[in-house]
Symmetry: D5
């Protein structure tokens, strides 16, 4: 399972709708509206690199309301939880 | 359950050890070593605000190797998964 | 009582009206027009996290004239004053 | 009463002690340890401009642990509360 | 006498007109068109804080051509000249 | 008379001494300790370009306590005051 | 053979088309859609400086969808591969 | 002879025309289209400060296609060449 | 084959040695010393994600002389060349 | 003849010596100490790309006192002067 953290800024007053549309995308596990310099943080959990490439370039960027994205690919994950099992049930 | 995404820069050549020590902290659910401008991204999942405050100011910042942190508190979460159940088992 | 400091930039010549509308929002204790890189700083004092989430994502961001906000959640407060009593009278 | 919001970065692992020392300074009403790009936000409430000048240049900057400060002078305040009375009791 | 240095960026090709209009505002002592990252630097010299607040929020920001301002309040002044006398004749 | 506005950051706890030493330099008319992102702003008023060059590269930069300077040469000045006369008495 | 790495930001939802049009330009060896702060990275491999000048100022910048480019000229190249032969076949 | 280096960003696809119009301005000695974060760098060589002021505020900024300029006044010049003679022939 | 572009800043006067050591690392295809804001750009070409993770976190960051890296993972590649064949011979 | 503009920051109080040492380097035509965000701007005029590469990576970066350089390669030059003849006499 590949993970990526996507930092997102949206156009004003579209935070909630954009978050909801993002969360429906296949491969997006969680979307948080956050405090600080960014509006949203999405966690992508996908089977392989092709899925990640498609998700980032073809689907996230196409969503209305999204002004700027910065994708941080996860190279390694350290966790007490067995994330692979927890999340892969639904991939 | 409260969530926060912590963007972290570490001193050179300490990425792995710092990630491992972070992942052992109570309240830290996952730690990713990432590409891009940050070295690590930690996901905190805690019971309430006091736990989050203690985690950020008293324990993460005290870890050796951590140069800079930027904590993005999650205000709302949108997800297909029932994160509360999935993660709260271990809180 | 949860506190947050919101750094705000407004569109030109809307500083005063935006400050007044902000100060009327439930949960906003004070709004300062300031010198420096920001136009306004609002202090939010709310009962719990849900109120803060709603205030930031649903109401502040919806105000006309607001271009950019950066919310700094207070994790701990240190003060000679008993802020909880002083401000909670009106919450 | 003059107000100022001081954005502060401290050296690593000195957030709590620095916040406590700041909160003891005459003229400092509240000190928040915060999420986001800054470590602390102090609210200064003083009688006049001379007190503010002395507080910022002579006392805050002299505190050990403080790396960087950015003071945002309040030009106008908008609030439901009668801040002058609430806080001036102790000035 | 209170002083403030206002760093200003204007919309292209409006530097001269904006400088002239600024220099006519009561409380603005000098306006310099400058090299470097800013277009103009205005020096405000006013009787008290209320005048400064009004000048910055109500009059400078309202001028056409002004895109961005950053006001640096002077806390203390060090000078061989008796600025108070030199400039207060006209306040 | 040539003018320049010098934005200065000093090492912590040296703001006052650095301001005083700067104000004694020939060609420096005023030094303000300020709020905001800079610590000091110095106004240079000199007879000609050679004096300005010498002041900036040979004397300001040599002062202990100065970490960073950014000099904004004034190209034109707009003022109600006859600055040339007011300040040139002492050049 | 001269090489240059061109960091590119495109207007939203034009990443793929812009990448394809770039890759067809003579002198552009590879175009990557990437994670992180940039949208695309193009690698230019050209015979001489004139070709590079023409490619950057006359052809890349003219492509629709390109908002911002930053060209990093390669001064020296270190590689296990004989890049000159591998790529010059097609120049 | 006074020199200044002007860093310039132009609107997309206007680099060449803007460079040519700049190079025709009296006082502009050379205009380079460059790699890196800027589009153009112009070298101004003028007789005195008034000419420089006029060139920067009245003529360069008025040119269509110019989005942003940052003028770096030369305080001193060090060169093996006798620039004064080389360039002053044409001033 | 996975590609990544790594933007690198080195400590002063170590550009050449660091470039040579980088170019010897398995998985690094080319290292360019460049003009502009970065010192080096390395192109990684590896078989799969695990190799990329190991290369970035365990080996590049461990090299002496490297101060800062920013890895841009390639999601998709567009090229006239059959890069897979050209480079995979040696993977 | 190839030209490049090198933006340079030096360590405090070393501006003059660093400028003089730079101006002696073969290939450096002029060095200006400047106002603004940079300390020095050097103009390189060299016969070909190899000379430029050597000058930037092997000699400029090796000079004591240089903290940061950003080289802007000139792709095209527009000038009333015949720079090639004026400067190539001494290359």
């Amino acid at each position: 399972m590949l993970n990526a953290i996507v930092l997102i800024n949206t156009s004003p007053n579209t935070v909630r709708q954009t978050a909801e549309r993002l969360a429906e995308l296949e491969g997006i596990s969680e979307v948080y509206s956050v405090c600080g310099r960014y509006d949203l943080v999405a966690i992508a959990r996908v089977a392989d690199f092709e899925h990640l490439a498609n998700l980032v370039t073809e689907r996230i960027n196409m969503l209305e309301g999204i002004i700027e994205t910065e994708t941080l690919n996860a190279l390694q994950v350290h966790s007490k939880h067995d994330l692979e099992t927890m999340f892969s049930v639904g991939l």
